[in-house]
Each structure stands twice: as structure tokens, then as C-alpha cells.
Symmetry: C2
Subunit: 286 residues, 2 copies
């Protein structure tokens, strides 16, 4: 099953990501409606022409007509929203999300969800250090990765639809991971990096430090401007896995520390060469 | 004393930085010559019109005519070069550098240098993860910081000349730090960030990881592509200070680790808010 222009697409939550989804899908001629908390977000998206219709209420008709529901809310709010409103879904509807952790939500949702609708998880690896629909920009998907995160219970149809959404949004790569593997990857690639940036920023209160900085510090701490509500929730929802990845990083950091302390230049250079070699794989696809 | 167009400027070492200095100064009409190891670097710079003349030999006449000598070599090579060739310097010449550590070189050089020439240290906080004059580009100075690092022995004239060089090269800010303070700042802002990037890159050998990455990991590890010869030398030359800064970072990293482990969400959010607030100072000046 692929996305098609007869489908009614409903986006719940017009933030940075929800808004960027709407912008991209509407530009390509899909039918897009939205439900979100604030009136100004609805107005902004309507004025930009990113949605056909929008509301701040739980509109039974809008939900009941939707074939494909994309929920772009924070994890806890998101689960409650489905719980409270699942009786309104159209039979056969497919529901997906954008949440940064999966194991703790996928099985819970699939556990309580009506049998005639299907939840298929996905994680767009795109974002900015600012939030809100006013900062939405479908350009954030360019060169970025999209991960579909099916459980054993998902149908081929829903997986295919979700993969197709990733491609249509303009992501450079669409891949598939189990919830457990996804959470491991994200703990290392995304959560750990945010932990590092925050720790680095907290570690030094020298005034005027910014006069002496180079780009390396700027790059490492771009994400130190962090949405504390969302990220503290994400960290705690993936606690065990994140702690493991933090341990893993600290082991290597301590090894480098010892190389410096004990003047082991060869071992240090080996680490640097391995690092250089591995980093080559991570250049963004153009 | 300011830079002027009658001065003979000599650049020793046409790498990424030396080449970018040459490009910028020559474009502005200064007289620039260069001594460097490889013939192809001289030819490249001549062909680009970045130097008036260049050689791969230690040319006594070229050195003897230079009023301002900018040495852009790795730290150890750099000290030997001055030792071996200082008898050739013009009386009254000012010598500066681009090296990333200062305490271990400034006093040594000022200790053995002829009394009728002056060494004034400087650190351009600009670079790229590639090297060589072929990658030179004066655009790297735009928005970047330039630090002049005088000791008690430096004259006001030499300090002013060096500051003027920073401004003329197009840096966004020119500041002044003592060698000890410089090394502390750089240990935190530059060396520690490279340690983190290398450790992060070494911590996970899962194949295909790049398919799941977002920009945060890419940004944190851009500098993980690292010149192992230069950086291992810089780390060891600033060992004690760097180890202190690594400790400082680890203290905060461990605190965040405990917040996650012990479910201390409020403390975690406090760290994130402090981080967000401090990061605002580091945006690049346009």
C-alpha cells in the first residue's frame, strides 16, 4: 500500500515536525488536515496553505474520515491521546508517529488499540534546535534518515505505507529496525550526543568563553540548546539503554584520558585513526 | 605598529592556515613570500597569486629581508626551525605563529631567541577537517576568533601588530590572553571537544550505524576526522591542563548519568536549562 491522493491524512500536533510533514504533503497535492492545541498554529498552517482544514478540538468527523493519522506529540501525551480518542478512528485506519523512543510505546499502544486499526511506529531523524510550526521547514528532511519501526504484529501493508511516507517526504534514506534495536541506535546516536552537549555546556562557567571559541565547540554544543521537557522525558523512557551507551562512551573517554596521562602516543594515534576512518561513513548524502 | 604595505611578510609553512594567511594578505596588496617543504605547495600558491615568491629551501636572503615572519608549522618542528635559522632573521623582525598550545612554546622560544628580534604568539581559532594549501580558504576566518598571547616580555608594538594582523585577516574578534589562560581555554574549548569526538567515534562499531544517524551525531563528530600527528602532539604538550578539563567534563557527565539512573528529572531539567541559557552566547557573529 502506498500513499495516494484520495487518502485523508490527519496530522495531530502541529509543531516543528507536524508542520513540516503538512507542508511537504500538501505541496505534493495530498489531502491534509490537522488537530493541534493552539489556534495560532492552525491559523499559521492555514495561512501558509499547509493544511486544508484544522481545528483545536477533538473533531469526531475529522478523525473518523482519516485513513492515515500521523501523531506528532510528545510520548506521554501521545499515548493518552490515542487512548482517549481511539473510538473515533475509521475502521482500517493506519496510525503512525514521530516519537524518539519506541520500545516503551509500541507494545503498549498495540496492546490497547482497537483490532481494526493499526499502529506502525516511525522515527524521522530530523529536527532543529527550535520548535513550533512557525519554524517548520520541509528542507530538514533533505539528506536525513527515516526509520520505520515495526513490531511482529505489523502488516506488510502498513510497513510499506510508512516507508512510502518517508520517501515522499524527501528523506535520503528509509530503513527498518525493531523497537529494541531502534532504541539502542538512538540512545547512542542521538540521546548520548545530547547528554554530552549538555554536560559540556554545564562544565565551565568562565565568563567570556565565547570570545575564544572555535567551530568545534560550537558544533558540539549546537544541540545544547535543548527542549528540557521533551528530552528529559525521552531520556527516562529509554533509561537502561541510554545508561549502557553512556557507559560505553565513558570507557573510551577514559582510555583516551589514560593515553594522555601516561604519554601513550601510539595508542592515542590509533584511536584517532580509527575515529577518522569511521567518521567517513557519516557524511551527509547530498 | 600596524601592518603596512612596505613590510616584507614571510610565511613559513604553506599548509591550510599558512595558505589562507597568504591568500588574504596578498589579496589586500601586502608583500608576501613563503618557505615551505613541498615544491607543489609553492607552485600552487604562486599559480593562485597568493605569494610573490616562494621556495622549498631555507633562503637566507628571503629570511633576512622579512620584517614580519608568520610561522605556520607543527609545534615541535616550529621550535627547531627557529633555533636553526634565527641567525638569519633581520634585526628588529617580529615573529608570530599559529600554534594551538602556548605555555610550553612561548617561554622556551623567548628564552633562546636573539634579543634584537621579538616573538609574539597568536592563535587563529579557525580550521577545517582537511589540510594542505590546496584546501586553504580565507573564508575560514570570517566569524572566527583570533587570540593574541603575549608574555610579560612582549612590547606594545608587537602586540599591536599582531592584533592588527588578526583584524586584517578578517577575524570577527581579536582578544588577548596570557599563555596559561590561553592553554586553559583551549584545553576546554578545543582539545576536550576533540577528545569527546574521538571517544564517541571509537565507542561503537555497529555496521551501518550511519543509516540511522541524525545531525546531532554528525555535528558532534565532524572533528572526529582528525590529524593524528598534530593533535596527539598538541594533547601531550598541554597534558596537565587538558586532563583537568577532561575531569571537569566527566564530573558533569556523571552527574547527568546519576540523574537518569535515579530518575531525578528536576535536576536533569535544571542542567538542560542552564545548558540552553549558556549556549546562547556562542552563536557565531555574522
Amino acid at each position: 500500500m502506498k500513499l495516494n491522493k484520495d487518502m485523508n491524512i490527519l496530522i495531530v500536533g502541529l509543531g516543528l515536525l507536524g508542520g513540516s510533514y503538512a507542508q511537504s504533503l500538501k505541496r505534493q497535492g495530498y489531502k491534509v488536515k490537522a488537530i493541534t492545541r493552539s489556534r495560532s498554529s492552525v491559523d499559521f498552517a492555514l495561512q501558509k496553505g499547509w493544511i486544508d482544514d484544522g481545528t483545536t478540538e477533538v473533531d469526531p468527523q475529522m478523525i473518523g474520515e482519516a485513513d492515515f493519522v500521523i501523531i506528532a506529540l510528545y510520548p506521554n501525551v501521545f499515548i493518552s491521546w490515542i487512548k482517549e480518542n481511539q473510538h473515533l478512528f475509521k475502521s482500517g485506519a493506519v496510525i503512525t508517529d514521530v516519537t524518539g523512543v519506541k520500545e516503551c510505546i509500541v507494545y503498549e499502544i498495540q496492546g490497547f488499540l482497537r483490532q481494526d486499526v493499526e499502529f506502525i511506529a516511525a522515527h524521522p531523524m530530523a529536527g532543529r534546535e527550535v520548535c513550533g510550526v512557525q519554524n517548520s521547514d520541509e528542507a530538514i528532511f533533505r539528506g536525513a534518515n527515516y526509520i520505520v519501526v515495526p513490531s511482529e504484529d505489523n502488516s506488510e501493508d502498513a510497513i510499506e505505507l510508512c516507508e512510502d511516507l518517508g520517501w515522499k517526504l524527501g528523506f535520503a534514506d528509509v530503513s527498518k529496525l525493531s523497537p529494541a534495536r531502534h532504541d539502542e541506535m538512538i540512545a547512542f546516536l542521538s540521546q548520548l550526543t545530547h547528554c554530552i552537549a549538555v554536560s559540556l555546556m554545564c562544565a565551565n562557567d568562565t565568563p567570556g568563553l565565547e570570545r575564544y571559541t572555535g567551530d568545534s565547540f560550537r558544533d558540539l554544543t549546537r544541540i545544547a540548546r535543548i527542549n528540557d521537557e521533551m528530552w528529559s522525558e525521552l531520556f527516562l523512557l529509554n533509561r537502561e539503554t541510554l545508561l549502557q551507551e553512556m557507559d560505553r562512551f565513558r570507557t573510551e573517554f577514559d582510555r583516551l584520558y589514560e593515553c594522555i596521562r601516561d604519554n601513550k602516543r601510539d595508542e592515542m594515534r590509533d584511536m584517532m585513526r580509527l575515529s577518522t576512518e569511521r567518521r567517513a561513513y557519516f557524511d551527509k548524502k547530498k
